[in-house]
Amino acid sequence: MRKKFVSFVIIPSVVVCLAVYLFIDTWVRLGLEAGGEAAIGAKVEFEGLHVSLSPLGIQWSRLQVADPHDGWRNLFETRDVRFAVNSGQLLRNKYIIQTMEVDELILGSKRSTDGSVKKAPAPAATPGGTDTSGAGTFTAKAEGALGKTAEKSPAVAAGIGALHLNADSLVKVLDIHTLKHLDSLKSQVLASSGQWNASLADLESSKKKLAEIETGIKSINPAQLTTLPAITGAIATVENSTKGINDISSAFNARKGAIQGDVQKLNASAGLIDDIAAEDFTRLKAMAKLPNLSTTGVARLLVGEETVKKATTYLSYVDWARAHIKNSSSKPDYTSPPRMTGQNIAFPLERAYPKFLIEKIRISGGTDTSGGASAIHAKGEINNVTNDQSVTHLPITATLEGVEGGGRAFHLHAVFDRTKEVPYDEYEASLGGVPVAEFPLGKEDFLSGKMTDARMSSTVKAVVPGSAFDASATTTLSGFRMSYASEPKGMLEQVIRDVLRDIHDFTVTFRLWNTDGEFKLALATDLDAKIAERATAVLGAEFTKAQNDLKTKLDGAIAGKKAEVMKLVGDKTADVQKQLGAYQSLIGDRLSLADAKKKELTDRLDKEKKGKVNDVLKGIFK
């Protein structure tokens, strides 16, 4: 043993160990704070951090993580947190934590000091940031569809205009499509009627032939026929007559089919009259500036822009999860490594651990109100937080719920599955009683204003398998007040403002999906129906009278011609149907006559044949 080994190695080692023991808490705290600040872009502060060596673990009494977008508010803070690190795996440079106990998780609490840091954080590193321009991100992909939706204002008339309108003048000016249709229908009836008459005239010549056949058949008297050749000849004549009737019947049926087709077309065309008249009425209302308040779209105009803005923000959270929760790492290929680095060979593991794993984070709720009334106290569990799910074969799951003094409550369940080749994310969240200080409304040129003091309740469900996306959300806003930036522009805006004044809640249903490649957005709300319902009440009898007046005038303009054409159609079709029926009966009668005569002759033939046989037998036995 080297004599100075004790003084030069062992004593310094003891001193170093002692220093580590005494200062490790500070060093770990400073390291975690520095790392956290670099990652979040805002102050990360630990209080009462203590590193225990047996079992190896860390605990702290308070952690505050400032919001990078608002330095005076915490993104979240915790009270007592304890966890133990698997020391065996730590020796293998793996950070495995079985259970992390979090006594309280408080979201959005107020800070007593400014938590912003001077150096601006990388925008893409935080969810909800503004840098969502990456070409492959959901935010970027959806921006086009969302933008189009925001721009797509409903075709709302600039204003109702005067309700005291001159309906006669408007009807005169209106290009009434119904009248054109009636004229067209009349022409069709007349043309068809001409063709029918020609066809019926052709059938008249057949009538003569039928009469001749009838005479021929009737002239045959079976009783007068005494010889077999005479009877057989008469049967042949009747059969020829039947054939002639059938030929006439075939020709008749062909003509009848054509005529029936014409009749059907005319009836269908007549059936369109009411629809065309309804379209005329709609155009007449548009000319009169009468709004169709039952059409959807006003609500989209009101809340569309804000909803789209919120959707973009939430999509950035999805992008953040995709970027930061990585897919499984693949086995390294054989390489020719740089000098002195070598290649690491992997061997089968009895129990594989990823580089980093927290099997369970158990968060218990709390009642500490020092963070302000607006802070949310959360509780729940987050499981399998890891950097490599291909090793754990378990997705990250999070189930959180929380409440705050003001009545806000939320529930969140999320799954981030990277165990397979195609990543899969699923989110289910509900948020209730959220006070919304200000909710912008409308556009600059229409209903520009804001909704204040509203309460918002939302439920959201989103599924993100691979590059597909399907999210639906329902948001209810209630208890709000409206205020507008300027005086109403036009009667319609005035009406809608009056309506909104008496509406205290509405629901917006939102769906955003790209399952067939392109992002699509559907936005529906019960506000349209409410506006329509209330508008009727606000406008009352005047609105109804104006509408009825227009309808009466239009109906009056159409009624005369409509009655005339409908009578013409009815008469002509009834007439032709009657003639066709009569002809059908005639052919039927003649065919019956021929059949009856043939039967009579056949019976006569049988009888005659029988008499002849008896005569022969009598001659034999005489």
């Binding site: 030069f8 020796l91 002195m340 070598g342 290649q343 060979i345 089968p348 593991l349």
Partner: protein, 176 residues
């Protein structure tokens, strides 16, 4: 001056001072450290042995420097050797798997081809280097140095500037 001190001490130690075994032991341990990559558990153990037992430091330092250069040159060979031992040596696979699952063994980075190849090479060279160095020190002290002094070439060189420089280094007083 640190390296000069190492060289002076090494040259001095070849002539007298510590035993040949101490010089050879230091040189052999330095060979292991020089050939192997740093920051491994076995490297730390060798350092501990070097610090704990009474072997020559200067010899270790010279060997470390000398063989570190060789290690850089022979890296592809070590990579190949390590790969053969880790991947193609079938009977050893069970041992590697056991060590891979053991808590501390991975700190040796034994599953790295260069670490494994260089360490095995260093172990194989350990005794030959130790024995060879020991013989060389003994021989230097008994024969080589006196024979060298008799050579005309040595006498010419003895007066040469080069040897004066060597002596200056040998007798150099390095301030602590």
């Amino acid at each position: 001056m640190f390296y000069l001190k190492f060289i002076r001490d090494f040259v001095n130690i070849l002539r007298a001072g510590q035993t040949p075994a101490q010089v050879a032991g230091g040189f052999a341990l330095g060979t292991i450290l020089g050939l192997s990559p740093m920051l491994t558990l076995q490297g730390a153990l060798v350092w501990l042995i070097l610090l704990a037992i009474d072997v020559n430091f200067s010899a270790a330092g010279v060997a470390m420097t000398f063989f570190a250069f060789f290690a850089w040159l022979l890296d592809p060979l070590f990579h190949w050797l390590g790969y053969q031992i880790l991947v193609n040596a079938g009977p050893l696979k069970g041992l590697w798997t056991f060590l891979y699952n053991a808590p501390i063994a991975p700190l040796t980075r034994f599953n790295n081809t260069v670490v494994m190849g260089s360490f095995v090479a260093a172990l194989l060279l350990f005794y030959p280097v130790y024995a060879g160095m020991k013989h060389f020190v003994v021989a230097y002290r008994t024969h080589i140095h006196s024979r060298l002094e008799k050579w005309k070439v040595y006498q010419v060189l003895d007066r040469s500037k080069m040897l004066q420089w060597y002596r200056r280094i040998r007798d150099l007083k390095v301030s602590p």
